[in-house]
Structure formats: C-alpha cells, structure tokens
C-alpha cells in the first residue's frame, strides 16, 4: 500500500514528528511504501539544517534525512510555510540573506501541488500535528 504523511507541527514542541516517525517505521516494516512526507505550517522546522539538539537527545532532523537515504522517501517542505519562517531555499537564501541553504540534506522545497499529488496518488494519507 502507498502511504503519504503530512506533518503540521514543529519538532521538540509537539509530539507529531515522533508519532509520525513511529508510524512510518511500522509501515515500512509491514512492507508498505511511504511515498512522501509533506511538511506544512510549523512542520517545516523538521527540515531546519541548523538544528543542533544535545548529543544525548534524538536528532529529529537528522532522522528524516536518514529516512530519505535508507528508504528513498520523498521529503517535501512547503515553500510558503518555509519562507514565512525564514527557512529559505538556495536561490532565495543567497539573494536575500547571503547564506547557502536552510534545509537539511534529503529535503526539497515545493508547493501545495505536491501535497495534492500525494493525496491523489497514495492509497492513504495521514496528517499529524495541529
């Protein structure tokens, strides 16, 4: 079964990222395909490259990047939500803020079209967060 996930809440403040993670791990273990994770609203903070949690804590951002590498899950960050929160993609970041890239490895930035595509193309779509 093809499953897509939407996360609307920031990591460390809300449990959504952890619940989604537990769900995704179980879904993959059961043989399902996790097609896309779409990060929306405050959920875009899950992609913050400069996140540096203490070394004895789980690293939520890094965990998502690993998911991309190990299971080829498409990690998509909503462009409008990200720009509102100062998480700028390469072309914009260089031009207006003078830095390279705000998103961690494995994430890409896109519009709501990819959320719609995920809903349409997946057998199930589940939202976590607010």
């Amino acid at each position: 079964m093809k499953i897509s996930v939407q996360i609307n809440a920031s990591p460390y403040q809300h449990q959504a990222a952890d619940t989604a993670w537990g769900f995704i791990q179980a879904a993959i273990a059961a043989g399902h395909e996790v097609y896309r994770v779409f990060f929306y609203h405050d959920g875009v903070y899950n992609a913050a490259r400069d996140s540096r949690p203490p070394s004895d804590e789980r690293d939520i951002v890094k965990r998502w990047s690993t998911l991309r590498v190990e299971h080829n899950v498409d990690l998509v960050v909503c462009v409008s939500s990200a720009q509102r929160r100062g998480l700028l993609e390469t072309s914009v970041a260089k031009k207006v803020a003078g830095y390279e890239h705000a998103l961690a490895d494995g994430f890409r930035i896109a519009g709501l079209g990819l959320l719609m595509e995920a809903v349409i193309d997946s057998d199930r779509h589940i939202t976590f967060g607010e």
């Binding site: 537990g22 769900f23 791990q25 199930r124 589940i126």
Partner: protein
C-alpha cells in the same frame, strides 16, 4: 472511517465531535494527549454518545509514557501499538485526523 484524535477531551472538542459522528464500523484512534480521555470516569462523559459497533482504540506507547495503565481505562477500549496503527490505516478508508 478511521478518526485519529490527538488532543484530550479537555483540550479540544474533536473527540466529542467524532464520537457523535462515528457510526457502526468506524474506528476512533486516540494518540498523543488524547489518551488521557480513556481514564475511566463515571458517567463516561464524552463517550456517552458512543454508538454500538464503533471501536475506540488507544495507542499503547502513548498510554505508557503518560503512566496510564489499563486498569484505569474503560473496558471497551482496545489497544494498538504502531504496527496496529498501521493495520488500522490499512483496513479503514477514509482517514480523518481531527484536531
């Protein structure tokens, strides 16, 4: 239909709304803070309107991390782990997260 609720009945009306909207064959899954709503009180407040053959499940890892054991919970409650959560998603369509 699978309703997924993540807030307790005192945080949000989502649970009471879903209880009223769920019909036979539907499943209500309580995750995160919503699991606080399964501690038994009399009368059963939010679950009074629960129709027959509507299942109410709680995500057991979320009960455990909040120190809630089964003896304090309603008898009608069913428990799932993350693989059970996946099975609910597999067996129910549509899925509606209510906040």
């Amino acid at each position: 239909m699978l309703f997924i609720i993540n807030k307790s009945a005192t945080q949000s009306h989502a649970l009471s709304d879903c209880v009223k909207k769920a019909y036979a064959g539907d499943v209500i899954l309580l995750i995160e803070h919503a699991v606080y709503s399964v501690v038994e009180i009399k009368p059963p407040a939010v679950f009074q309107a629960l129709r027959e053959n509507v299942s109410v499940c709680a995500l057991q890892p979320d009960l455990l991390v909040r120190g809630l054991d089964k003896e304090r919970c309603y008898d009608f409650l069913e428990y799932v782990d993350y693989s059970g959560f996946v099975a609910l998603v597999e067996n129910n369509k549509p899925i509606r997260s209510c906040f």
